[in-house]
């Protein structure tokens, strides 16, 4: 009897539609967020994460309406990330039916925002999203840094130290994306995932690079993650969430079946 490891399908949402960026460049349209969320719920997804990739521009309200519509029909936890900069953004999304919000860039530019937000709504609602990229050369000991702007700009911040700082500032969970692996389908960066999972007291969601079901298992067993996030393998129906869970269970991982 213990806490199940979670499988979290992720939907990238742009202008109210689900899309999935491959290396943040190629984008394929794959439908209505409500329909996709319902399908994942039926398949046994443990949570659903929406990343609003329009958030930095105008259309701020679109994602709020998406969350409202999904929350009327899907009764599992919903996390929303993308463009969250103010406590009002946090409140608006939680009130719309989100259970957690993922703060990314705003945390880098204003770490105190994480403190304020978690103090106001509780750590359990605050996920800090970390986009990390390996910066150490071949033969050097591993080192990853935080990147912003879809992986284009480095910040010089050490990813493991940053994750620890964010947990200390009140992040209830870390959503860790390897920018080297995102969209490659070659599996999580397991060394990165393990380094951060072992360093922080809060749960870590591994993200970036899932191409098959064994990758999910590796993220939990070798990466020490509490949860695994994937988009395209579920999104294009290569595998169902149910199949993923059955595979994880066969590998000895406790899941909600």
């Amino acid at each position: 009897m213990s806490l199940a490891k979670r499988i979290i399908p992720c939907l990238d949402v742009k202008d109210g539609r689900v899309v999935k960026g491959v290396k943040f460049v190629d984008i394929r349209d794959a439908g209505d967020p409500v329909e996709v969320a319902r399908r994942y719920d039926r398949e046994g997804a443990d949570e659903i994460t929406f990343l609003d990739i329009t958030a930095s521009s105008d259309n701020r309200d679109t994602i709020v309406h998406v969350v409202e519509k999904v929350a009327e029909q899907v009764f599992i936890p919903l996390t929303v990330g993308g463009g969250i900069r103010k406590i009002e953004d946090v409140r608006l999304l939680l009130n719309a039916g989100a259970d957690k919000v993922a703060i990314n860039t705003a945390a880098v530019f204003n770490p105190d925002f994480v403190k304020q937000a978690s103090d106001r709504v509780g750590s359990q609602c605050i996920v800090v999203a970390i986009d990390a990229k390996k910066v150490s050369a071949e033969g050097e000991s591993d080192r990853w840094e935080i990147f912003t702007h879809g992986g284009r700009k480095t910040t010089g911040l050490d990813a493991v130290e940053w994750a620890g700082k964010m947990a200390a500032f009140g992040a209830g969970e870390i959503l860790l994306t390897s920018m080297d692996r995102d969209g490659t389908k070659s599996g999580f960066d397991l060394a990165l995932t393990r380094a951060i999972s072992d360093a922080v007291p809060v749960p870590v969601i591994a993200s970036g690079g899932v191409g098959n079901l064994q990758h999910l298992v590796d993220g939990i067993i070798e990466g020490h993650a509490e949860a695994v996030l994937a988009a395209s393998i579920f999104h294009f129906a290569e595998y169902t969430v149910q199949q993923a869970k059955e595979h994880m269970a066969r590998c000895g991982i406790e899941v909600r079946l």
């Binding site: 359990q124 749960p203 509490e226």
Partner: protein, 212 residues
Amino acid sequence: MTIAVVDYGMGNLRSVAKALEHVAEGQPVQVTSSADDIRNAARVVFPGQGAARDCMHELIQRDLQDVVLQAAREKPFLGICMGMQVLLDYSEENAGINCLGLYGGDVRFFGNDLRAANGTRLKVPHMGWNQVQQTVDHPLWQGIEDNSRFYFVHSYYMNPEDHSLVTGTTTHGINFVSAIGRNNVFAVQFHPEKSARDGLQLLKNFSRWNGK
């Protein structure tokens, strides 16, 4: 036959209301911060999410403490998450907060070095789907198998003085109280509104419960 969902500015009230509307046939669901609405409702749901200090502050600010306590004494009443924790005397959160004190006991932090029986380090918050062992038969457990999984997200757990209150327990490093019940009150640490089929079943059971 209205079900009032107490709105004191804390958390996912819309989700709670939508989940109730989904299962409570013919009963209007009203998200409200009006004392009169709460007094007039047939059933009261007291949700809550966020920090204990803010929950208590908002309740006091809206002058809802007494009406919530009154509802907990006289009609079917469902506390959820923080709405369960603040029913006790005191919470350790935010350096210590006095709570509603309907029941004796306190709310404690899981700690930063929580370990499973086999020594594996466990994460806090306790976040995700965990099993609830039903320690008593109760109308609200009807149609839900023992040890079903519900969605939890919390760093603090309740420690009631009177163990006869306990209706369900869960293990995360320690065995903690995940559901309580007495007379017309039932309260859960997990989020039924986010716990898929079994969570909806619990809410449906509540919508039909006469509080006995």
